[in-house]
């Protein structure tokens, strides 16, 4: 017994480290923050308030980039304005002819981005609309350019949005031109990757990628990006397609929340499937 006590005292740092590592790994396998329930809403509300209070602090690097981007956009817009005057008349005629819907078939709620949070492999934005405004978990968030992400948590006045630049996010997507279905995920850097498109299909650089109707999580036909590069991996039956995101995530200021709640029953089923896939990937 004294020898055991002596051993524990002598190697206490390593023993404590091992025990804490076991606890941490157990917590990781137990689940994520969604199981914290009300406490999570409190954290989101508190962070949203604090981020809004700090929103006035300028970020010189971001402002510089934004300035450059705005100049570029300004030039492009000047050119586009000329074309649009001509196209506007033609567009009106076409709209009435084809009876195109001008908006999505769901109500949209405008929101301002009050905070952007970057945690290594996860990027989130906080918006100034919460459960009291009708925002709930699962709702899609878009801009005029395309899909931003999905609401993953709400407090009465704020909501946390998981953007596409997040290692956990997978979006069922399709090529707008050929209707080929695939899965969009983040490449870890500045682009997205479209997977599961067989090499027997034709993919061209510049093709538009939109959300698919196969998933209940995202409203179909929302732009995600355009094909930038098509990589032909000789070891795979599928293309690796690099997609340029439609939304410039680092300069989002205004967004719309699509007030459509995905069917709960299907969501639960998809969550169960995702959990099963995660467990299989972790070798459990």
């Amino acid at each position: 017994m004294p020898r055991l006590i002596d051993f524990v005292i002598r190697y206490r740092e390593h023993i404590v480290a091992t025990l804490l590592a076991i606890i941490a790994l157990s917590l990781m396998s137990y689940g994520d923050v969604t199981q914290l329930g009300g406490f999570r809403a409190l954290v989101i509300g508190g962070l949203g308030l604090a981020q809004q209070a700090l929103a006035w602090i300028p970020n010189p690097l971001a402002l510089q980039r934004e300035n450059q981007a705005l100049r570029q956009i300004n030039m492009e817009l000047q050119q586009e304005a000329m074309l649009l005057r001509k196209a506007g008349i033609e567009n009106q005629q076409l709209r009435s002819m084809l009876q195109l819907r001008q908006q999505l078939p769901y109500p949209l709620l405008a929101a301002s981005v009050v905070g952007k949070t970057v945690f290594r492999t996860r990027q989130y934005i906080t918006i100034d609309r919460g459960s009291q405004d009708g925002v709930s978990v699962g709702m899609n968030v878009i801009t005029d350019a395309g899909l931003v992400g999905r609401v993953i948590g709400t407090s009465p006045h704020y909501a946390l949005v998981e953007t596409l630049f997040n290692r956990d996010v997978r979006v069922s997507a399709r090529l707008a031109s050929t209707r080929d279905e695939g899965i969009i995920s983040w490449d870890g850097f500045e682009h997205l990757v479209l997977q599961n498109i067989p090499k027997t299909h034709t993919v061209s650089v510049g093709d538009r990628v939109v959300t698919s109707s196969l998933s209940t999580r995202f409203v179909p036909e929302i732009p995600i990006g355009t094909v930038r590069t098509v990589i032909n991996d000789p070891t795979s039956m599928f293309y690796r397609i690099v997609v340029e995101p439609a939304v410039a995530f680092w300069r989002i200021e205004q967004v719309f929340v699509v007030q459509r709640q995905p069917p709960r029953e299907l969501m639960l089923l998809e969550d169960a499937l995702q959990e099963y896939i995660n467990r299989r990937m972790q070798g459990k």
Binding site: V16, A17, A21, L27, R120, R167, D187, M281
Partner: protein, 167 residues
């Protein structure tokens, strides 16, 4: 300073680091790279008080960070505990705080701890995702470790100046 006051001070500084890292992460980010302010506190404690307090402190603060950052519960607790464990090998509990932080060893230890911290974190997180670990770690993990080590120069210069004034 009593142990209670000492650890209380570290806890307050640690909570401050979590809050700044969470609320101002967008302001601190350069080219998508964020520094780890909490790591600076953990390394300081490891050098000042040794391995055991540092790894327990790293675990508790990492757990709080997991909750605030909506990360997977336990992930930051694990890597921050590991960072405290690694940094503890460089510690000298007999030294004063200014001597620990005011030594170049503080910056080097921060770099080593950050490299190990990021390697384990990215290994955990790139495995289930379609992201190459080597590429992602070399581009983001090493850069983030260097950024954190660069920030360690601020407390290092402050403490070394305090040390000179004492002498």
């Amino acid at each position: 300073m009593t142990p209670f006051q000492l650890y209380g001070t570290y806890a307050v500084i640690g909570l401050g680091a979590i809050l700044i890292g969470t609320l101002a992460s967008n302001l601190l980010t350069i080219g998508g790279i964020t520094p780890d302010l909490l790591l600076l506190v953990i390394v300081a404690l490891a050098l000042h008080r040794g391995q055991l307090p540092a790894l327990v402190f790293g675990f508790v603060m990492g757990l709080l960070f997991d909750i605030v950052s909506t990360d997977v519960i336990g992930s930051n607790a694990l890597v921050k505990m590991l960072a405290g464990y690694v940094a503890g090998f460089f510690g000298n509990p007999d030294q004063a705080t200014t001597a620990s932080i005011g030594s170049p060893r503080y910056v080097v230890t921060t770099l080593v701890a950050a490299l190990v911290h990021n390697a384990v974190y990215y290994l955990l997180y790139t495995r289930p995702a379609e992201i190459s670990f080597t590429e992602f770690y070399l581009k983001n993990g090493v850069a983030a470790a260097l950024y954190t080590a660069a920030l360690a120069l601020l407390p290092f210069f402050y403490a070394s100046r305090q040390r000179e004034e004492t002498f």
